[in-house]
Amino acid sequence: MAANEQLAMLVQPDRVHRAVYADAGVFDLEMERIFGRAWLVLGHASQVPKPGDYFTTRMGREPVIVVRKDADAIGVLVNRCAHRGATVCAEGRGHVERFVCPYHGWSYDRSGALRAVPVPGGYDKKKLENISLTPVPRVAVYRGFIFASLAAGGPSLEEFLGPARSSFDDLVDRAPGGELEVAGGVFKHAYNGNWKLVLENHLDGAHPLYVHASSIAAARGAPEPGAPGAEHYFDIAVRQMRQNGAPEALWESIGVWATPRGHGWLGDYHTDKRLTGGEDHPVFKEYKKKLIQKAGQAEAERILAVTRWNTIIYPNCSFMSQFRQLRIIHPLAVDRSVIYTYSFRMKDAPEQMFRDTIAFANVVNGTGSLVLADDLEVYERLQRGLASGTAEWVYLGRGYGRDADEADGTRRGASGTSEVFIRAQLQAWLGYMTQR
């Protein structure tokens, strides 16, 4: 299986072999060649505001610590003691001067350098000099978002992001003064399915009417949302679930774009402007005023004219600016994945916009959500079907042959429901997997 020629046979222009989702050997190679090479999104600078603040996460199979070393630098360290291999830091987040291993008390500073070893007389002093926690070789920040790569070489972060930088710009620019912070809790939802399934779902405009049929139907029968001043908690949920039932023609009319590195984004499909910034609502009026104060009239108009829904950063992130949700995908096994979902607060926007973010997160991204539970069920059904060896191919032909290359280096699907973004993801996959 490992031979590149064999891997190349798995991805064809409009179809992909089921082994890409179901073969444990392919998964092992992905951890090495994709998650061991690509820039991965780890989090946001607001999670580590002060020197010594840290949080733990994963990069593929590597347990890592993201730590603010000083005012200007964030470091990423492999969470593994150089002595016997225990994780030096408990899972979670906090503040430290030193990382101290629970086993024999070896302690490391925020850069990972070994600072103290109990019973030092037992060692040749010279041998201890070059010991440290293994630093992840490349760390970079784009507009507050922390990225790292386990590979010492490769494209710069800006080159890796390419045209997809504009989606991060959209997310940050929308905050008056550009200030965002992670807030409101983290959903961690898991499913028995391959990590790629979620990335192949988030820009798929043809799935909501089927996967979400039951929540759409329930929302259509719900009481009417209130007018400004008479709104209810349930309004955001009901509006969003109804919007998921947008007719096929609307999904067809929005754009979907992909980049050669597998990133992509979907145009916004919202006709209900209470969800995405209708200017006649008092909260949005106040918000726009603040944005104009900070950015000026022309720039504010430009910012608000960008209408994107989900963006995928391949291979581990999906986010959206309208309700400020960011999801990080952690592959655990060929058939097991977990997704961490973060909400962001715009520091200088009306407080109601953050309450709307929470209401939206609960209904769309919550582990007990009326919407998400059906996506997770379908991922598991995909994985069960793909375990079957009698049919080998997955068909990805929607819009195939009608993709258009645009001037900025993106490729646009023939319509909003084109599978162009999945084809681009798999081409990127093949690039990582067969790169020498």
Partner: protein
């Protein structure tokens, strides 16, 4: 009906999938809450695994009856084991009741065991009670969880 019998009755309705009858136990201004964070007090500025007003709770029950409710077809089979019931506050017609819940869920060859500290705010009505507020604090609320399509 005393408080214990009422909580057992509620559990029985859930375990026998009488969801519409279960929904009727809630007052019009009720809140059904499964917090995300330990000792979470605020549901407006912090997400919740479930935070439903009476309207959303109604939609949740309706959704379960839809022929394409993928995560709920079939509904998981459950046992809600309610114990350690104690009245912790009583004022006028309203009681605050603490209990513990051990719940076994089975669906699609997955069996899950849940544990929770539960708090009900009950209002006396016609010799029985109605639920004005139910808070279910799962011991693993901050953990990595598969999708939740049951009611606690």
């Amino acid at each position: 009906m005393n408080v214990e019998q009422f909580l057992y009755h509620e559990a029985r309705l859930l375990d026998t999938h009488q969801l519409e009858a279960w929904l009727e136990l809630f007052t019009a201004d009720a809140v059904y809450w499964v917090p995300l964070e330990r000792e979470q007090r605020d549901a407006q500025h912090t997400s919740s695994l479930i935070y439903d007003d009476r309207t959303l709770l109604g939609l949740r029950v309706q959704q379960a009856c839809h022929p394409r409710a993928h995560a709920r077809l079939p509904l998981a089979r459950t046992v809600h084991q309610v114990s350690n019931v104690s009245i912790i506050e009583e004022a006028g017609d309203e009681l605050k009741v603490a209990s513990t819940l051990a719940l076994i869920e089975w669906r699609n060859e997955k069996q899950r065991l849940w544990g929770a500290l539960v708090e009900h705010r009950l209002r006396r009505a016609n010799g029985s009670f109605r639920i004005a507020h139910k808070r279910v604090e799962l011991v693993n609320s901050e953990g990595e969880l598969d999708g939740i399509a049951i009611l606690f």
